[in-house]
């Protein structure tokens, strides 16, 4: 007999102007892996944040182990043995693993009126926990020195250290390689064998199919239904998730590539902490070619892109653009030569959130005619361009060009950046993680844009952590590992599994 451990009854949560969860009722059984599937914005994270005490629902009730509970903070959740691994890890970078794990729940040693944190004892406990579940870590390592996958293990250990019984994973695989995903899924099964209940938030069908017992599908805040994973096909789950029949295919015509536009050779880059982040990298991108750099987050891909755009100094090697060495040029000069760049962090780097959309669209061209004449800005030209781009790129903004960028949705912010960069009519376009955090509709739109530019004969450098995206868009794939390019080959000669192997640093 399986007992119910968590019951959510008629949960409704509203944010200004939107219903994030609309009358959702779920029950989760002890010892199962329960998946929560849905697009970005479907309300999965909100629902779990409610269970974790970060939001209070406007309506509805929560029962844990049969008892009605009210959760007002993550502390309440912890008291009910609920733990959560957030999508963005909550770790203190200059603390050791042990310090991070005990934070907020410190074991104390006392001597008279004095008490201090018993880090030594905690470190022992963590070591034995990590052995028990196969989560290898060294408790004395500092977080900032660790790869993402190890940081995730620390997050899991944090829950186990607190004896959590109900473990929530929010999109845990989005930062991992296929092999690391395998490993994580095994750990989840190990945890289930240990009697833990697991809630897995994901929009990746395969992994849900692989480990989950049951799966709830959310669409626009409403529960579509709860399905038995074993008896439901992935195609059906996908259709339920987007609410309509989904077309997986991307139209990509084969064509010959033109001349070499970008030629990077023996590039080496050190970051501000004097760590070598790009190590002797060479790559070429030709007209009409999409070269995708695959790799786990933090293996130097972004640094390569930054170095080409001039945002990072290089210490060795050369970057040549249309036959000319540009490695000593300023950022401005490179933009003028014809390099467009869609950066990884659209809110921090790609846009000025407190400026209007109109100004953001002209942020690279404000000092050229017709946007300014002899140093005097020409607002009409700003306005005209904004109206034009808003229409052509379908950028939705409340007050047209005057809209404050901060008030726009992520998808529309990204559309604005892409519109701006494409309009520069550059010969090279660099896309770094162009679809991160966007919903299916926006992703399709952006993929379409990238392919259009390719067909126009532009050279495209794509950096993506999503292996599926790389496989779908790339003509050529380079795999980055620890700052090096381990393998470069045509997409036709590589399977997804092979690329995954290289991403782990395996070089046959």
């Amino acid at each position: 007999m399986t007992e119910t451990i968590v019951e959510l009854k008629n949960i409704t949560k509203r944010f200004p102007g939107i219903v994030a969860n609309d009358d959702v009722t779920l029950d989760i059984r002890k010892g199962e892996i329960f998946a929560l599937l849905g697009e970005n914005g479907a309300g999965k994270s909100t629902l779990m944040s409610i269970l974790f005490g970060m939001y209070e629902p406007d309506e509805g009730q929560i029962f844990v182990r049969g008892e009605k509970v009210r959760l007002t903070s993550s502390k309440d959740a912890a008291a009910l043995s609920i733990g959560m691994v957030h999508q963005h890890f909550k770790l203190v970078s200059n603390y050791t693993i042990t310090e991070n794990i005990v934070l907020g729940d410190e074991p104390l040693k006392r001597l008279g009126p004095l008490s201090w944190v018993d880090l030594k004892g905690a470190s022992e406990k963590i070591r034995s926990l990590s052995l028990e579940y196969g989560l290898e870590v060294n408790p004395d390592d500092k977080i900032e020195d660790l790869p993402v996958s190890t940081q995730q293990r620390v997050e899991i250990l944090k829950m186990l250290y607190r004896d959590a019984e109900i473990l929530i994973f929010d999109e845990p695989t989005s930062v991992l390689t296929p092999q690391e995903i395998e490993y994580l899924l095994e750990i989840m099964e190990e945890l289930r064998r240990g009697g833990k209940t697991i809630i897995l938030i994901s929009h990746k069908l395969e992994e849900i199919k692989q480990v989950a017992d049951r799966c709830a599908i959310l669409l626009h805040g409403k529960l579509v239904g709860v399905y038995d994973v074993a008896t439901t096909t992935t195609q059906r789950m996908a259709n339920l998730m987007v609410g309509k029949e989904l077309d997986f295919s991307i139209d990509k015509t084969e064509h010959d590539f033109g001349e070499v536009v970008l030629d990077v050779s023996d590039l080496t880059v050190y970051n501000e902490q004097k760590v070598k982040v790009v190590d002797n990298v060479s790559l070429k991108v030709r007209q009409g070619e999409i070269l995708a750099i695959a790799g786990v987050s933090g293996n130097g891909q972004v640094d390569i892109a930054d170095a080409i755009a001039g945002l990072q100094n290089i210490s060795a090697g050369s970057i040549s653009f249309k036959g000319e060495d540009i490695s000593r040029l300023t950022i401005k000069e490179r933009i003028t030569k014809g390099i467009s760049y869609i950066p990884e962090d659209r809110q921090k780097e790609g846009l000025i959130m407190d400026l209007t959309l109109r100004d953001n669209l002209a942020i690279k061209t404000f000092d050229r005619e017709p946007f300014s004449k002899k140093g005097i800005l020409q607002p009409e030209s700003f306005e005209q361009q904004a109206e034009d781009l808003i229409r052509r790129y379908d950028i939705r903004s409340g007050q047209g060009g005057q809209t404050l960028t901060r008030s726009m949705s992520g998808g529309n912010q990204q559309k604005a950046i892409i519109a701006r960069e494409v309009e520069l009519d550059s010969d090279l376009l660099i896309f770094v993680q162009p679809t991160r955090g966007l919903d299916v509709g926006a992703i399709a739109n952006i993929h379409q844009q990238i392919l259009e530019q390719r067909d126009l004969g532009k050279a495209i450098l794509l950096v993506s952590l999503e292996l599926d995206e790389v496989m779908a868009l790339a003509d050529t794939i380079s795999v980055a590992f620890r700052g090096q390019i381990l393998k470069t080959d045509s997409v036709h000669n590589l399977s997804k599994e092979e690329v995954g192997q290289y991403m782990m640093g395996v070089t046959q």
Binding site: P16, I18, N40, K332, I335, E349, I376, L438
Partner: protein, 381 residues
């Protein structure tokens, strides 16, 4: 037409928070005064009388409301320059807390080089203004340069420079330029003061020529910030230096430029203060106007015209405090207390705005035409 309405509306909403800050300040100040057993109306009238805005019951011979009013102008002038300087720095994301030092150094140089000379006014004035611009600008650029090149926070540099300037000038004043009676520096020559003296109906007044420059500066700075590429760059660097750099804007160069402009404005504040209002220097003294100008810039919503109006308001308290104190009997330091409270409320503008929006929301539940899906996505990000 629609554009016009949105513009008026945004201008009004910009005024709302400062207006609320001022009202709250008057309420708190009145409460303090009532606690001391004084009539707040009398006190506020005292400030206005001292600033030449309301008639005093009586005047000394040859003096009148015009005398006070123009004297108010001569302290208003450095306040406008100083707060414009702070404002410009804040626009570039830089906190110029060293205005007092950037006033003293050019003021000292101008006094020493021109103030004690026999140059006629038509030569002395442009020279003084030039010294103000150059010396202040140089100090500002140094601060900007140290930030850009060596990553030293502008607040630390400005403060260190403040002390260095105040001690070094004190040494020179005490050694070479001291007035043995007052222990301050010797008073500068009449011809070097940035003042035009006049007489109307038997009432003497001194009109500060710097005021014209100051008003001009307000509109020039406004034009630069709103309508030129230079201003576009400064705004971009101030709002998000990462994006500015990514867009090809020279962040370091613009930091130095903005600090130079900020320092130059502070320099103008210095020369109009020391050669027009004070006419001598107290050794080691950094004028509080330098710090008050920060309050003024924040109160003025970090915008040129707003800063002008905030200067006009704050200067009333400062200028009028002495008259008010001797006539109503409240220590003149109440003026600084009032300015401090005003600054406190205007620094909490974000909170006030939040509360207002909250009020607005309960009245008008839905104002946006965004689709629900967009909103959901926003929640996710």
């Amino acid at each position: 037409m629609k554009k016009f309405i949105t513009r008026v509306r945004s201008a009004l909403s910009g005024l709302l928070v400062p207006a609320i800050s001022i009202v709250l300040t008057l309420i708190v100040a009145s409460a303090i005064l009532l606690l001391l057993g004084k009539n707040p109306v009398e006190v506020f009238l005292g400030f206005l009388r001292g600033s030449g805005m309301v008639l005093k019951p009586r005047y000394a011979g040859g003096q009148g409301i015009l005398t006070d009013f123009f004297s108010y102008f001569s302290i208003l002038t450095p306040m406008i320059f100083a707060s414009l300087g702070v404002m410009l720095g804040l626009r570039a994301g830089l906190f110029n807390i060293g205005v007092a030092g950037q006033m003293l150094f050019p003021g000292f140089l101008a006094s020493v080089l021109v103030g004690y000379s026999n140059l006629p006014s038509y030569l002395a004035w442009p020279l003084i203004i030039l010294i103000g611009l150059v010396a202040g600008g140089a100090m500002g650029s140094l601060i900007g340069f140290l930030k850009h090149r060596f990553n030293i926070h502008e607040v630390v540099t400005s403060i260190m420079l403040n002390y260095i300037v105040s001690y070094v000038t004190a040494f020179f004043i005490n050694t070479y330029f001291v007035d043995p009676v007052t222990r301050n520096s010797r008073t500068i020559k009449e011809t070097s003061r940035l003042l035009i003296s006049g007489k109307a109906d038997g009432v003497r007044f001194d009109f500060p020529v710097g005021l014209i420059v100051a008003l001009l500066a307000v509109f020039v700075i406004r034009f630069i910030l709103d309508r030129t590429t230079v201003g576009f760059r400064i705004n971009a660097v101030g709002l998000n230096k990462y994006c500015a750099r990514y867009a090809g804007i020279n962040v370091g160069g613009n930091i130095v430029l903005a600090m130079a402009m900020s320092g130059a404005l502070a320099g103008l504040a210095g020369v109009t203060y020391y050669l027009g209002f004070a006419n001598n220097m107290v050794p080691k003294d950094l004028v509080s106007l330098g710090y008050d100008s920060i309050a003024v810039a924040v109160l003025g919503n970090i915008a040129p015209v707003g800063t002008l109006f905030a200067s006009i308001l704050v200067t009333i308290f400062q200028k009028g405090s002495i008259y008010m104190s001797s006539n109503v009997g409240v220590p003149k330091d109440i003026a600084s207390v009032i300015i401090g409270i005003l600054l406190m409320f205007s620094a909490s503008g974000l909170y006030i705005e939040d509360k207002l929006q909250h009020l607005g929301r309960t009245v008008r539940p839905k104002r946006d035409s965004k689709t629900d899906k967009d909103k959901a996505e926003e929640e996710q990000l």
